[in-house]
Amino acid sequence: MSAKRKAIFALPLLITVVIFGYFFWALTKPGRDPKILPSVLIDKPAPEFDLKALVNLGVPGFARKDLTSNGKVSVVNIFASWCIPCLVEHPDMVKLGQRDDINLYGINYRDKPEDGLAWLNKNGNPYHRVGRDPKSRAGIDWGVYGVPETFIVDASGTIRYKHVGPLNTGDLEDTILPIIESLQAQ
């Protein structure tokens, strides 16, 4: 059999190799997520809001002015006691909360205040401020459509990044922290 004819039998393999090349490229490219449509809020000022504190939590409530009060980059995390993925990313929030060069703010979204309080007491409160948003008033302005969501807001109060869903392994180190650092450098 001629080499040419033999080569034809390798054609399916070659095509497959090329296609899988694309697959690997797409999967390993950092930050690529086909689900995320860029939020319309990116590079827009954060919305106006003034949320009351969770009583007895020991940290104050959270309002628009807290984003611009101390010249630090802020991470705003939307969470709820009924949200299991929030528990998954909670250790990452604890890590962020230990840093004093950023603000970590929480919005307790669509939750009964006592449930939110109990959840934070049980799992530890990493947030510097927590605002309660039981009726999703602020949530709508922030464009929240699922919990958890995490926003990065720069020192001037402009939203610079939005992450939908829980922070998975590596998201904190590969995406969130580099963005925070680049904003701090500005």
Binding site: L27, P34, C83
Partner: protein
């Protein structure tokens, strides 16, 4: 405790699969009958352990054991029992477990029903089947463990996505998976044949029933899925060319081609290399179908949560399975002897053309599904591909196929007289022309392409019926004799007539509902009436109702035509309390000639409600046609089992002797 038992069972199943994938292969190489027989035992052991694991997870769902992460994320104590059970596979981990379960069932079925297989072939098939099992059990245990415990269990679960809480969708994934996974058997047979370097008619006879089984389930699964989309999503559509739909459709197209080419191998000992390639590609597309939407490569409305590490794992697994089998193909296939020669105009030629058209159609769907990814890789930015692409590429490929279906069925093997065949089809042709004119008249000049399409579908249906009538000599011999002949027709022949006829009927439904659908949206106050396509829908207001895990608004429509009462439609808008997710429950009144479809939307705040009404002509024909296709497949399957069984005893003895030599 039970969850730990399930975890343990999974690990045991993995061990069984590992030994099953190695020992029988060695046995087949050395002609050691004990090692070869090990494959059958191991496949049963593997199945028992996977059943145990699946049972444990199901138990956790039924008793709402929220200490399991998987249950907590996807179930809720107030959920009806049916959806507690279907919740087992309504998520990534559980659906993987179901996938592995079905794979183990097929493996054990080959072991149980394959008694008359040559022992070396059987050993190799079981080993390949086990290798697939090893891959996916590993994936399950290491990246998608359904038995992960929660340190802090919640009081109640997060509930299953309300869209999935529906009887149609409770059974859609299992059927689809039986279809996908069923093709693994054809794949394992193909790889085993490549290792043995031998493909013959007997091989094709063993492969066909498995392929047919998979095809029947895949057809049913896709039809069920599109039916679900039709009544649950409330858009009045039944196919959206969404990536998830496409990836189930591709193995169907390839599997259909495989089904037809295996006939040529069986009857004429020809097209062997091509059939092997099709078997590999069909299962490869099934794998891609199950996994591409979970890897984060493409996005879709009904994808599961994505985790990039899982994606890489899946991709490596697929690369090994598909790349490995195609490498083997590249090395071994050139040495396979090609069989009988045939003229282009013959049944072989017809089936080959069928294969080429189906593969091309599959390639266009593949391209359309992955084009956004390719464009992005080449720096073209994000693009999306919609129905216009498929209308321009997929449909033109399918049209000649549909046109040729009934001609092909008439062609004899080896060499055919095309003119003679066309002469025998002249009545069908005339009747189809008449049908075309009637369609034109009724639709009052509607879209030309749709009318031509209906004519073509009529040609396909009538040509298929005419071939059937010819076979039983209808009207040429007394009816009693025709009846006798019909009863004696082999099941596979009945199967072909039903499947081709069913396809034609489904196409008539698709064309009609696409071309002549009427929809209207209005804001109505109670008591007001909207008229859509000659039918009056009087809106009689709404009332609040409460279900087990949702609250809903139910609207009432009084439907009448020319003042005569027809039916009452009660569409709902539900809000599932736990997920806080609204769903629409369309109300549909189905008739033979079309559906009356009503959806209730939002309130306008001034006492009015948004109302959407659809009139969908002949839409139920789509699913009626699919049902016929499934039924045809079943008849053909029943026939094959009988025919394979009869001469098998002798062959078995002979083969065993051969193996012992």
């Amino acid at each position: 405790m039970i969850a730990e038992l399930g975890q343990f069972a999974l690990i045991m199943a993995l061990l069984a699969a590992i030994s099953q994938s190695i020992l029988p292969l060695i046995g087949a190489e050395r002609l050691d009958s004990r090692l070869m027989a090990f494959g059958s035992h191991a496949s049963l052991v593997q199945l028992l352990f996977v059943i145990l694991a699946f049972g444990c997870l199901t138990q956790a769902y039924i008793v709402s054991d929220f200490t399991l992460l998987n249950v907590a994320e996807n179930s809720h104590s107030t959920k009806p029992l049916l959806y507690k059970i279907s919740g087992v596979w309504g998520n990534h981990e559980g659906s993987m477990l179901l996938w592995v379960l079905i794979l183990a069932v097929f493996g054990a079925a080959v072991a149980a029903f394959g008694r008359n297989l040559p022992v070396t072939l059987k050993a190799r098939v079981l080993a390949i089947q086990a290798m697939i099992g090893v891959g996916f059990l590993t994936f399950l245990i290491f990246t998608s463990n359904p038995f992960t415990r929660l340190l802090v269990p919640p009081e109640n679960g997060q509930d299953l996505n309300p869209l999935l809480q529906d009887p149609g969708l409770a059974f859609h994934p299992p059927m689809l998976y039986v279809g996908y996974v069923g093709f693994s058997v054809a794949f394992s047979f193909a790889i085993a044949a490549l290792i043995e370097g031998k493909v013959d008619a007997a091989w094709a006879r063993w492969v066909r029933p498995w392929t047919l089984t998979a095809w029947i389930f895949l057809t049913g699964g896709i039809a069920l899925g599109s039916w679900w989309a039709y009544y649950e999503l409330g858009w009045g559509g039944w196919w959206f060319w969404d990536p998830v739909e496409n990836v189930s459709f591709m193995p169907w197209l390839m599997g259909t081609a495989l089904l037809h080419s295996a006939v040529v191998v069986e009857k004429r000992n020809s097209l062997k290399v091509w059939t092997i390639l099709l078997a590999i590609l069909t299962f490869s597309l099934s794998l891609i179908g199950t996994f591409i939407v979970r890897s984060g490569l493409l996005t879709s409305v009904h994808a599961f949560a994505v985790n990039p590490e899982r994606g890489i794992f899946i991709l490596i697994l697929l690369a090994i399975a598909i790349g490995g089998s195609l490498t083997l193909f590249a090395i071994k296939a050139p040495a396979l002897k090609s069989g009988g020669i045939f003229s282009p105009i013959s049944r072989e030629g017809g089936l080959l053309l069928n294969n080429l058209l189906l593969s091309t159609a599959c390639a266009t769907v593949f391209l359309g599904t992955l084009y956004p990814l390719f464009m992005e890789a080449l720096g073209g930015g994000r693009v999306s591909i919609g129905p216009p692409f498929y209308n321009k590429t997929f449909i033109p490929v399918m049209v000649p196929l549909f046109f040729l279906v009934c001609i092909g069925a008439y062609l004899p093997w080896k060499r055919a007289d095309l003119v003679g065949v066309l002469k025998r089809l002249k009545y069908a042709g005339l009747a189809a022309l008449l049908a075309l004119l009637i369609a034109w008249y009724i639709s009052d000049g509607g879209p030309l392409l749709a009318i031509l399409g209906l004519g073509m579908a009529a040609w396909m249906l009538l040509g298929t019926l005419s071939e059937w009538a010819d076979r039983i000599k209808l009207f040429r011999v007394p009816l009693a004799k025709s009846w006798q002949r019909a009863k004696n027709l082999p099941g596979s022949s009945w199967g072909m007539t039903l499947a081709h006829g069913g396809l034609a009927i489904a196409i008539i439904g698709m064309i009609s509902t696409t071309a002549w659908k009427v929809e209207d949206v209005a804001v109505l106050k109670p008591g007001e009436t909207i008229s859509v396509a000659g039918t009056d829908y009087r809106f009689d207001g709404v009332r609040e109702i409460t279900g087990p895990n949702y609250s809903a608004v139910e609207a009432t429509f009084n439907v009448s035509q020319d003042g005569e009462y027809m039916t009452t439609l009660k569409p709902e808008k539900r809000l599932y309390t736990v997920k806080r997710m609204p769903t629409t429950e369309a109300a549909i009144y189905s008739t033979f000639i079309g559906d009356y479809y009503a959806v209730i939307g939002d309130q306008d705040g001034k006492g009015g409600w948004t109302v959407r009404i659809y009139r969908e002509p002949l839409v139920t024909w789509i699913w009626f046609g699919c049902t016929l296709m499934v039924f045809g497949g079943l008849l053909s399957l029943a026939d094959r089992r009988l025919r394979v069984g009869a001469p098998a005893e002798k062959r078995k003895k002979k083969k065993v002797r051969e193996a012992e030599v």
